[in-house]
Amino acid sequence: MTSLYAPSADDVIQRLRPFGFFFEKSLKDLIRGIRSHNDTPEQLELFLEGQLSECRQEANSSNMEMKTNAILKLTYLEMYGYDMSWCNFHILEVMSSNKLQQKRVGYLAASQSFHKDADVLMLATNLLKKDLKYGGSNDVFKVGIALSGLSTIVTPELAKDIVDDLFLMLNSSKPYIRKKTVTALYKVFLEYPEALQSNFDNFTSKLEDPDKSVVSATISVVCELSKKNPAPFIKLSPLLYEILIDINDNWIIIRLLKLFTNLSKIEPKLKGRLLPKIVELMDSTNAASVLYESVNCIISGNMLDENDYDVAFQCLEILNRFCNSQDSNLRYISCVLFYKIGKINSNFISQYDELIMKLISDIDISIRLKAIELIEGIVSEDNLKTIVSTLVKQFVGDEVAIIETNRGTSKEIPIVISDNYKIKIVNVILNICGMDNYSNVDNFDWYNAVLYDLAIVSLDLNEDDLGTKIGNQLRNLMIRVPDMRHTTIVNIIKITSLDSVEVRLPTILESCIWSLGEYATYLENGDALIKLFIKKGLHMPHSTQDAVIIAVVKLFSSWCTRNSDQIDYIKDILEQMVDFLTQLNFSKSFEVQEMSIQMSEILKLTLEALEEQSDEIPLLLSDVLPSFFNTYELTPISLGTQKQLPKGIDFDIDLPFLSQEDLDNILDDQETLAEEDMDIYDSDRFSLVSDDKNYGHEASYEDGSSDESETDHFNDTYKDFDEEKYNEERKKETLSNPFYLDEPTGDGNHYKFSDILSTDNEQREKSLNAMEIIKVNDNSHGSQKINDKKKKKKKTKKVKVLADQTIVIPGVTEVDASSKNNKSQSLPNPISSKKISLRMHTKLEDFNFDEQNKNNSDEDQALEHLRSKFEEQDINNDNPNTSNEDEVIVIKKKKKKKKSKSKEDGTSKKKKKERKSKEGSLEATPQL
């Protein structure tokens, strides 16, 4: 402190200019101190702690100067994250000082620190009332400061107390005060909407204030208020329209446009007057922000019809210009508006595909992120491949942006493609390709290749969701595009044998493995896959293990019917499988446990049968096992169909499926039946499917013969095969089999690869195996080619894609299938994760301006109680309508109260009528 009074040149100046003399020095000391102790965080911390305790003492001192100084320093330290609410009372003291400087510091500190601190605010009320009194020329700023301060700390109670003073000040002779009052009233209205209701005209008359800054402030406030609750301001629209026409201040025009946006949302009639004016404005102005706001007003104010191509194109032209400008901000905001226009009618933006493609390659990633959302609006069969290839190229990420520096030289800055953006690209590609049941994809070979690329890219993205989505796409392709199953299955094998896919993208495996199992008939050497899965299976996550168990059995069943001569080898494989499954019997996951026990028991039985009968494969293996899986062809069903299943279907569980006699008959006829089936079964439908697929549904009756299968196929008791029953059965099956569910049920992440050392070898083996499989597959594909050349030719043409099957169950209403379809047309909503929400809820939002009073519910209940009493008496009362004028008035008020209450309840007129009659009784018995 001694240095403070040292006669340096600086201090001489300070003395000549007494303002800020003491304060500045001290705050400056603090700031200098912070700057000199900035070497390590610990050092700074220590210094600040010391300063804080000093401030604490100073704040407690009785010297106002010292106190103010301390508060100022504390306000500064608050920026470093030190709480200062403990000194709220000291702040209050400083606020009440007569000196403007101190008052200013006090209000500044208050605005930073008084967050709804009820105790302090109660005390602050009187102070504010005093400060708001205008008494002389120098008081203008005192009032101004108080108003600014008030608006930051206002609470409902404070608002209630202070609102009358504020309305008085609206008529002040000083524009400065009127302006500040108007803005301060905004916060008051938010907390205490009743004030606006009762002084609405008084307040809105400020729109016609002679001073422009007051008008401007009023428009701002009305605009903000209308954001929360536009209804009461509709009646102002003629006046506002006049202002819009007369004024030429861009600041105000933008605010008016914002305001009209809010109003037009709830009052469509405004469009007729406004739209021509806004279009005119767009033609006449050059200011980018006004143009932007006009377009925004048209779009957000619901003024753009789906069919209004003229206006849409005018808006789009402006946006197009913005998008081509050098200013990246303009490009960004136009992208956002483009998206909104596209949401109204995606045809509007479809012709801007070139522009959008350009934006996708913008040097600014945040613009790309916006533009990529637009892609779904412009995608078509013709440009799909271009779009996808553009996007896929961006994964490589070797682009550079050339930036020209001031000196005329240019330097290259690599564009960093964030993972976030990559994830979005993958999602968008999957979306646009899968749109409308693959209507844009004309070449599924290409799509398979794309999926493979995406899978490889996703390996590094560390986003489990992508694996699931890509897996789903692959599975969908398998199911929906029967002609391409050979290509797809090769692709799936390639993906499952990718390097360390189990570690980096485990979620993709579930669908892939399921597909391999389900379409095992397309594979010739299923044994290789079985061995592979057995080796890998134990280390996979539980949800994938689920899929593995069933896939292994499916693979096995189809493989051994194909290779029924190699009995010994089959036995070997079977033993390995039983071994594998028994290990899983003790899995932590209940699903895995159950499934593995079920399957291992069946396989054990099969093994026994195989040992008994060593010359050929037993019936259990040749017929029963395949019938588990091949009974019905899987077809895609539409979303929600499963839910439509009527609940509570009764089954007679005790009734045997087959009597012993039936069983014997079937066993006798077994051979002939199987052969017949092959002939009978529709060969068109299964044309690509190899022989063993052709088990008719009759074969499923065999199920009854083995006890274990009871759980799976009890529904086979339906004997007559009509369409409806078929569907129901199918769905039963779907329900009972967890592998038809889309979502992975287990925990996909807890997954350790125990022996990392051996992975390399395994991988090599695995890929070798995969090669083998692919080879074999190519062969089978080749033979297929010879079999039907027509199919081969078709490949370049549009491939048939199965559509969703809708199953109508009588008596059950269809579950929002239609709304689902609508969604696919329009653009999706951008995903936003909400953590910190800036939306604050204010009372104004729910405030009903038609109500006269808000009454408290206690009072209401008491009234209700009284009323019921009167009602009882009413029965005895003969003459209810004798009343004088005064009473009628009283009653009217009560009615209004009632009205408001009934509104809250949501029940309406009916109640009111009832009450009217009750109130009649009230009139008659005033003495009660």
Partner: protein, 156 residues
């Protein structure tokens, strides 16, 4: 009309120089916003646009020399360009007030910077006064009154 939710001044080193919150937030949320935004914005390249999305709202920023002016605005309602204009107006006004303003001016006279900000933007984050002249008049007038206060103090 711009409804700013918060305004932060952050230096190139990531130090907060000024912060004004127009929405009640808990200290924790405030720290989170600052901690999240600072690296995000400092990492942006010069040619990138000045708008980014953060949580449920947009953030508009502009760099002046070593200082970043960061504004949080609501997603649907606000005009990003106007917000940039307001930031610019703030800087212009400070520039005139301090005479070629630099970061040090704002550090040492942070209360003055707040005063100017309060004249420019009202409590609710809306623009109160767009005229630079008017703001400066008001601030100077207030300074003059303060000087008088001090004169009184010294004389007494």
């Amino acid at each position: 009309m711009s409804n700013i939710k918060y305004l932060l001044l952050v230096s190139r080193q990531g130090k907060v120089r000024l912060m004004q919150w127009y929405t009640p937030l808990t200290p924790k949320q405030k720290t989170k916003i600052i901690n999240d935004l600072t690296p995000l914005i400092l990492a942006r390249k010069p040619k990138m646009c000045n708008i980014l999305e953060y949580n449920d709202h947009k953030v508009v920023y502009r760099r002046y020399a070593s200082l970043y002016f960061i504004c949080g605005i609501t997603n649907e309602q606000d005009n990003e360009l106007l917000t940039l204009e307001i930031i610019h107006r703030f800087v212009e006004t400070m520039d005139t007030y301090f005479g070629n303003v630099c970061e040090l001016d704002i550090i040492f006279h942070f209360d003055k910077a707040y005063d100017i900000l309060n004249e420019l933007i009202m409590c609710d984050g809306s623009m109160a006064e767009s005229s630079k002249k008017e703001i400066l008049n008001n601030v100077h007038a207030m300074d003059a009154i303060e000087s008088n206060d001090h004169l009184d103090r010294i004389l007494s």
